[in-house]
Amino acid sequence: MNPALQGLMTIAVGVGGCLAYFYFSNLVLDRFIFPARGAQAGRNINRANMVRPWLFVFPAFFFLLLYLGYPVFETLRLSLTDRALGGAFVGFANYEQMMNEPKFWEAMRNNMLWLIVVPAASTAFGLLAAQLTDRIGWGNIAKSLIFMPMAISFVGASVIFKLIYEARPVDAAQIGVMNAVWLNFEGGIWSFIFLRVFPAILCGAFAVIAAYVGYLAARPLWEDRPGPREGVMMKGARAFLGLFGLWLAWVSVRGVWGVLTASLPYGEPINWLTLPFYNNFLLMVILIWIQTGFAMVILSAALRGIPEETIEAAIIDGAKPLQLFFQIKVPQIMGTIVVVWTTITLVVLKIFDIVFAMTNGQWETQVLANYMYDKLFRANDWGVGSASAIVIMALVTPILVWNVHNARKEMR
C-alpha cells in the first residue's frame, strides 16, 4: 500500500478508534454494567463514576507505561545480560567492560563539558537577549529571529555549521567563514588582541565567576546564620559545589595561560572539526545557537512578570542599570533561571544528532548518547549499549526526582 494512503488510514483509524473507544466504553459502562435505573440506581451511578476516570486515562497510560515505563526496567535487565551468550545473566560484566574502554571515559568527559558550557551559555545569552530586546521598539522582530533556530533540526543546524567550519586547501578560496576570518590574522597587533588578550579575558572572567559562585554556595558552611539548620545532604551539596567551582576556576586559569602561550599556525587553513578538545566547543556552539531562543522566551516572560514596585524602589534608591539588573531583577527570576537551566541540561544529556552528523564521535568528540548508538547498532552489543543508556538515566534521575518533588508540592 502507498505509505501516504496508509498514513491517512492510520489517522482515520487512530482518531476514529480513539473516539469510538471513549464513546462506546462510556456507553457500555452506563447502560449495561452499572445502569442508572432499577433498585440500585444511586449505587450504580457512583460506581460508574469511580470507573470512568480509568476509562479516560487508560489508553494514554497504556502507551506511557509500555513505551517509557517498561523500557526503563527492561534496559536495566538487558544491561546485566550478554547477547552473545544467549541473554545469560552476567552481573556487572558489561559495566566493567564499558569502564575499561577509553572511548566511554572520553564520552563522559565530553558530556560533562557539554553540561557545564551549554546550559550556562544558552541561559546567559538568553537572559542578555531578553533584557536587551525588552527595551526597544522592534524587540518582537529581534526576538522572533533569535528564536528561529528552535524550528531547525539538529541535522539541519549541523549542515549550516559545517559550512561555517569548512576548510579548503591553502591555495583555494576559503568558503567557510571561520577559515576566511582566521586567514586574516598574521600575528600582528590585532592577532594579539583578538586571539590572545580577548580569549584570555573571557577565560579569566569565567574563572572569577566560577570561583565566586562556588564561594557563594559554600559560604553558609562556615558562617553562622539564623534560620533552620541544614541537613547533611545539603551540606554535602554545598561542599561539592564549592570544590567544583574552585576546580573550574583552576582549569580556567590554566586555560588563560594556555591561550597566552599557545603557538598559532598563522596563514594555514585549519580543519576545525579535527582539532581535539576544541572541536567539542565548536559542536556546542550549535546547540547554544538553538537553545538561546528557548531561554530568551521564558526569561523574557519572567522579566516582564517582575513587580514594577521593586524596580521603581531600586531606582529611587539610586541603583545603576547594572545593579538594577543583577541585584534586583536576576534574584527575582532565579526560579525561572533554574527551570531553564535544568530543561537545557536535559536536552544536553540526550544530545545525539549533532555529534552523529558532524563528527560521529571521531577526533575525541564522542558523547554518551552517540556512544550508546554506536554500541547498539554498529557493534551490536546490547549489553554495553544498555549499560551506557542506564548511565544516561542515572544522570537524569536527580532532575527527575526534583521535578516530581516540585509537581507534588504544587498539587497540594
Binding site: 494514554a60 517498561y70 526576538k143 512578570g305
Partner: protein
C-alpha cells in the same frame, strides 16, 4: 489563565514599560544624565542588531549557498555572492580541424568566450595562463610561450594560437582569470526536488517525512486529551500519583526505550516501518501532551463545567462539547511541538522506521548520509538542508504565538 494570557501577550509585544519611563524621568532630573540615557539606548539598539545578525548569519549563509552554482560556491565564500569575483575558468582553443598551416606553423584563431564551448561574451578578462599551476602567468594582450606553442588572448576573448607541431584534435587548455558577475540559480532545487538521481533526490524522503509526521502529530492529541481531562477534572484515588508519573516520564531519556521497544516491535510482528514509528512517536509525545493539556484544562473556569453537569451532561459530552473547543490554544501548542519534534527527528526514525531497503528513509537521515558521501558538494548539501528546514520554519513563523505559549506553559510551573 489571565496571567498566562498576559505573559503571552507580553512576550512578543514590546512596549515601553512604566519602569522604563520612570527610569528616564529619574535620570533626566540629574544634570548631564540626559545624554547618557540616549547613549545607553543607542548601545542597546546596536547590541541587539549585532546579536540578531550573529544569530541569522549561519542560516542566511545556507540559504544563499543553496541558490549558487557549484563553481561559484567553491570559488568564493557566500558573503561575496553579491559582488563580482575573479575566478579562474578553464577553456579550450579549437581543435586541429580549425588549424591553418601558415609558413610551416599551425595557426588557430577564434574566440575563447563565444565559441561553442565558451561561457558567452561579456566577461571582463584579467589574465591568462597555459598551465593549471600558474593560471595568471600572462596579462591580457600579451603572448604566452610554451614549448613551441604561443597564444595571445585579447580583451574580447579572441585569441591567436600557433604551434610548430600539429595541434591536438581537442584543442589545448587555456586558463583565464575572469571577473564573474553574481549569478543565482534555482537549478539546485530542481535537482533536489525533481530531477536528481539516487541520493540527490529528496522527493521520496520529503513525502516519507510527511507520512511519518502527520499521524504522529494528530493521534497523540486525541489520546492525551481524554487523559488530561480526567487528570484535571475528575476526582479519583491515585490521580496525584498519575500526575507525578507523567512528570517523571517527561524526563526519561528516549535512549532507554530503543532496544526494548525494537525487540518488542520485532517480537509482535510490527517490525520496522511506519506503524512502528507512529506508535513510538505517539508514546514519546504523550508525557508532554498530557502535561500541557492538563495544565491548561485545570485553569478553565469551574462554573462552566459544573453548570453543564447540573444540566445533565455526561463527562463525555462535557469533554467533547466544552473542554475540547476551549482548549484549542493548548492543543495547537502541543501540535506544533510534536510536529517540529517528529519532522526534525533523526533517532526514532533511524531505529524504528528505516530498514535495509532504504525506501523509507526520512530527510534528516538522508542529509546525514549526504554529509558522508557528498561532503564537499555544498550546492547539494545546502539545498537539501534548506528543503528540510523550510517546512518547520514556515510553521514556526505562522504559529509562533502558540509555540511560545506552549513553551511557557510547559516550563514555568
Amino acid at each position: 489563565m489571565a496571567t498566562q494570557e498576559n505573559i503571552d501577550r507580553g512576550v512578543f509585544q514590546s512596549s515601553s514599560r512604566g519602569f522604563l519611563r520612570g527610569l528616564f524621568k529619574a535620570k533626566s532630573t540629574d544634570d548631564g544624565m540626559a545624554g547618557q540615557k540616549s547613549g545607553l539606548m543607542w548601545a542597546v539598539h546596536i547590541s541587539v542588531v549585532a546579536l540578531v545578525l550573529l544569530w541569522i548569519f549561519p542560516t542566511v549563509g545556507l540559504l544563499v549557498s543553496s541558490f549558487r552554482t557549484a563553481d561559484q560556491i567553491s570559488n568564493s565564500g557566500w558573503w561575496a555572492s553579491l559582488t563580482a569575483t575573479e575566478q579562474t575558468i578553464q577553456l579550450r582553443t579549437a581543435g586541429a580541424e580549425a588549424a591553418e598551416l601558415v609558413d610551416g606553423v599551425y595557426v588557430i584563431e577564434g574566440n575563447l568566450l563565444t565559441d561553442d564551448r565558451g561561457p558567452g561574451a561579456g566577461l571582463e578578462l584579467r589574465s591568462f595562463g597555459t598551465s593549471a599551476r600558474n593560471p595568471s602567468a600572462y596579462a591580457i594582450g600579451e603572448t604566452g610561450e610554451d614549448n613551441g606553442e604561443t597564444i595571445t588572448v585579447n580583451p574580447d576573448g579572441s585569441y591567436v594560437y600557433t604551434s610548430v607541431e600539429e595541434p591536438s584534435s581537442s584543442g589545448s587548455r587555456v586558463f583565464v582569470n575572469a571577473v564573474i558577475p553574481p549569478e543565482f540559480t534555482t537549478q539546485n532545487y530542481d535537482t533536489i526536488l525533481f530531477s536528481g538521481r539516487g541520493q540527490d533526490n529528496m522527493s521520496r524522503a520529503f513525502f516519507n517525512t510527511l507520512t511519518v509526521t502527520i499521524p504522529a502529530t494528530i493521534i497523540p492529541i486525541v489520546v492525551a486529551a481524554f487523559a488530561a481531562y480526567a487528570l484535571a477534572w475528575m476526582e479519583f484515588p491515585g490521580r496525584a500519583l498519575l500526575v507525578a508519573l507523567v512528570v517523571a516520564m517527561l524526563v526519561v531519556p528516549l535512549q532507554l526505550a530503543l532496544i526494548p521497544l525494537l525487540r518488542l516491535h520485532l517480537g509482535i510482528g510490527i517490525g520496522k516501518g511506519y506503524l512502528g514509528v507512529w506508535l513510538a512517536h505517539t508514546a514519546f509525545g504523550m508525557p508532554l501532551a498530557i502535561y500541557l493539556l492538563r495544565n491548561y484544562m485545570v485553569g478553565l473556569p469551574r462554573d462552566i463545567i459544573e453548570n453543564a453537569k447540573v444540566d445533565g451532561a455526561t463527562d463525555f459530552q462535557i469533554f467533547t462539547r466544552i473542554i475540547l473547543p476551549l482548549s484549542f490554544p493548548a492543543l495547537a501548542s502541543f501540535a506544533i511541538f510534536q510536529f517540529l519534534w517528529t519532522w526534525n527527528d533523526l533517532l526514532v526514525a533511524s531505529v524504528f522506521l528505516i530498514d535495509a531497503s532504504g525506501q523509507t528513509t526520512v530527510m534528516t537521515r538522508q542529509i546525514v548520509e549526504l554529509l558522508g558521501t557528498r561532503g564537499g558538494n555544498w550546492e547539494i548539501l545546502a539545498t537539501a538542508a534548506f528543503v528540510s528546514i523550510a517546512v518547520p520554519l514556515a510553521v514556526f513563523f505562522a504559529m509562533q504565538r502558540y509555540l511560545v505559549r506552549g513553551i511557557l506553559a510547559g516550563s514555568v510551573k
